[in-house]
């Protein structure tokens, strides 16, 4: 299988108040076309920094990328001009944000926010779509994330929606421009367990149905089991173990991984289909 995304030897440090901390130390991981890959590690291990480096969202400074390549579709993102980098955001790769309460703009309606994102994505892709076309697409993705009343949701402000609905909106946002890679950083951890399980199932179904590649970032191995076939385990900025998800659960090699497995909350129960 060819890799859609391939991170190779990525090293990142943060310098704050004159102190430099090595946060990523030669991280390598691969996400093949259409595959479901998880990146798991305890809090502070560097997962979000990895995600931000891939998306080109690292604040530099304080962050600095010392070494490594981030190959996407055969091109190194780190040497790509900023313009082309931005052009990929939301279109080739997009993110599912973690916190449904804070990741939506409180003063604009859902339709407004999704249409704005779509408008500029269209513009970057040179696609011609008018207001009505955008509205139609917004309603379409809202139905894809199984909103019962997409028209009403589109006209709502975030505050009028429940946490679970807002998380669905965040997924819809990521799907708007038909990306090939979805990166989800701890989606739904702010939600109650049942809703979180529904969200994970929705994500898995969407990814399978649309043939997207998924990079699931989580601290919870229970989530890994639900959503991935292949898993990377990260500890203090390094990948310490990797393998097919089933194998990793069956025979973890590292004590760190065993601890993570032991820490799996029993709560991420499967949702009846």
């Amino acid at each position: 299988m060819t890799s859609l995304l391939s991170v190779q030897g990525l090293s990142v440090s943060f310098t704050t108040y004159g102190r430099t901390a090595e946060v990523l130390k030669g991280v390598s991981l691969d996400v093949p076309q259409g595959a479901q890959v998880a990146l798991v590690g305890e809090s502070g291990s560097g997962k979000s920094v990895t995600m931000k480096a891939i998306m080109g969202l690292l604040p530099q400074p304080p962050a600095r990328i010392h070494a490594g390549r981030i190959m996407f579709d055969g091109r190194d993102l780190l040497t790509l001009p900023e313009r082309e980098r931005v052009a990929l955001r939301g279109t080739a790769m997009s993110m599912v944000f973690q916190d449904p309460m804070s990741s939506l703009n409180p003063v604009w309606t859902i339709e407004d926010q999704l249409s704005t994102i779509l408008k500029y994505a269209d513009r970057r892709l040179g696609r011609d779509r008018d207001r009505r076309g955008r509205r139609a697409r917004v309603i379409e993705v809202l139905s894809q994330v199984r909103m019962r009343d997409p028209e009403r949701v589109a006209g709502s402000f975030p505050i009028m929606l429940s946490g679970g609905m807002r998380q669905r909106v965040l997924i819809a946002m990521a799907l708007l421009s038909e990306p090939r890679l979805l990166i989800a950083d701890e989606p739904g951890t702010a939600l109650d367990v049942t809703t979180q399980a529904q969200i994970l199932k929705l994500l898995r179904d969407l990814v399978e149905a649309q043939g997207l590649a998924l990079l699931m970032i989580t601290h919870n191995l229970g989530v890994v089991r639900e959503t991935s076939n292949y898993v990377y385990v990260m500890n203090k900025g390094e990948i310490v173990e990797e393998g097919p998800t089933a194998d990793l659960f069956a025979a973890p090699r590292q004590q760190y991984t065993r601890d993570l497995i032991a820490a799996v909350p029993r709560l991420t129960g499967r949702v009846a289909t």
Partner: protein, 341 residues
């Protein structure tokens, strides 16, 4: 509908505050030493004349009865006679208040039109030179007393450069009756007399600028802080992650949610603006309520004092009600929840 309830509650509170204000000012005006009747009649008046006037004014009655009379009049929109002008306070205020109102409104428009963009620029280029410049300006504008700015502008623009008039609302001898709203610019427009509008604006510019600098700095500061606060929100990062361009992010995603604090502070600023307007009016010979109010205070013209205070207070309340509506329009959370976040 929560929003209407919210507005109604705010209005009820404000009216309560107005009543409180009227009591406090009423009592203070009466307990400070000095006999209004004696002051009005002058040192040569006989004791009988003074007593007669005191009785006419009801000054011999107990305080609560005097207040009762005042409220009774107020309920009918009657503020009583002024001892000094010997006209009804209503009439005096109707002739002076529009000038003050026009000055304060021009001030607010200038403060907002420049203050908010300055704050946005400072936040956008945080910690680099535009930010430093704006912050320095805000501090200087805040520490310089209004009278000093007013004099400085008057001397510089009025006498040294001689580009702008320094006194009054219109050139002397201008034939114009502002009998619709009392605001020269508005009435000039309504009557189609554009030269009046132009002259009125020229006369307004210096006093309004002098009065607006402190508020402008304040607006810039608040807008900057609020913009920076919002810039750290996840939804801004999210917009960036989806490739929404900088400009759109700055104005659409950041400024609108950041707009509530400057609006709210603007409402509160009106209190100090009315006070500051009095200073500016004296310096620029602006025929507003200031001269009237100050003379009323020094001469213990009780009805005039109460009139000026009540009109200023009511104006403040109405402006803040309007601001509550605007805040609701800007931020749907307040509209939907029916309260401030």
């Amino acid at each position: 509908m929560e929003f209407l309830g919210f507005l109604a509650r705010r209005l009820a509170w404000s009216l309560l505050v107005l009543v409180g204000l009227s009591v406090v000012i009423f009592v203070i005006a009466r307990v400070v030493p000095g006999d209004p009747a004696r002051m009005a009649l002058g040192p040569r008046a006989s004791a009988e004349q003074v007593t007669e006037l005191q009785e006419k004014l009801g000054l011999n009655l107990p305080l609560y009865q005097q207040y009762g009379r005042f409220i009774g009049g107020l309920a009918q929109g009657e503020l009583g006679q002024s001892l000094l002008t010997e006209r009804s306070v209503n009439l005096d205020i109707r002739t002076t208040f529009p000038a003050t109102l026009e000055l304060v409104m021009a001030t607010v428009i200038i403060a907002f039109l420049f203050g908010v963009p300055l704050g946005v620029a400072a936040a956008r280029w945080k910690d680099s030179w535009p930010d430093n410049l704006v912050r320095a300006f805000a501090i200087v504008a805040a520490v310089m007393p209004t009278f000093f700015i007013a004099l400085l502008l008057q001397v510089l623009a009025g006498y040294v450069l001689q580009i702008l008039p320094t006194t009054g609302r219109l050139p002397t001898g201008t034939e114009f009756e502002a009998d619709i709203t009392g605001l020269l610019i508005v009435d000039g427009l309504l009557k189609g007399q554009l030269h009046v509008v132009f002259e009125a604006m020229r006369h307004l510019l210096l006093p309004a600028l002098a009065l607006s600098l402190a508020t402008m700095g304040q607006m810039a500061r608040i807008t900057r802080a609020s913009m920076i606060d919002v810039s750290r929100q996840d939804y801004i990062e999210a917009a960036r992650a989806f490739g929404v361009p900088d400009r759109v992010r700055l104005f659409k995603y950041q400024l609108r949610p950041a707009f509530v604090p400057p609006l709210t502070i603007m409402g509160l600023e009106f209190a100090s603006l009315i006070g500051g307007a009095f200073v500016v009016e004296l310096i620029f010979s602006w025929p507003g309520m200031a001269a009237y109010g100050i003379r009323a205070i020094t001469q213990k013209d009780l009805n005039a004092i109460m009139g000026v205070v009540m009109v200023s207070g009511l104006f403040f309340v109405l402006v803040n009600l309007l601001i509550d509506v605007l805040v609701g329009l800007v931020d749907p959370r307040i509209r939907i929840r029916g309260r401030r976040a």
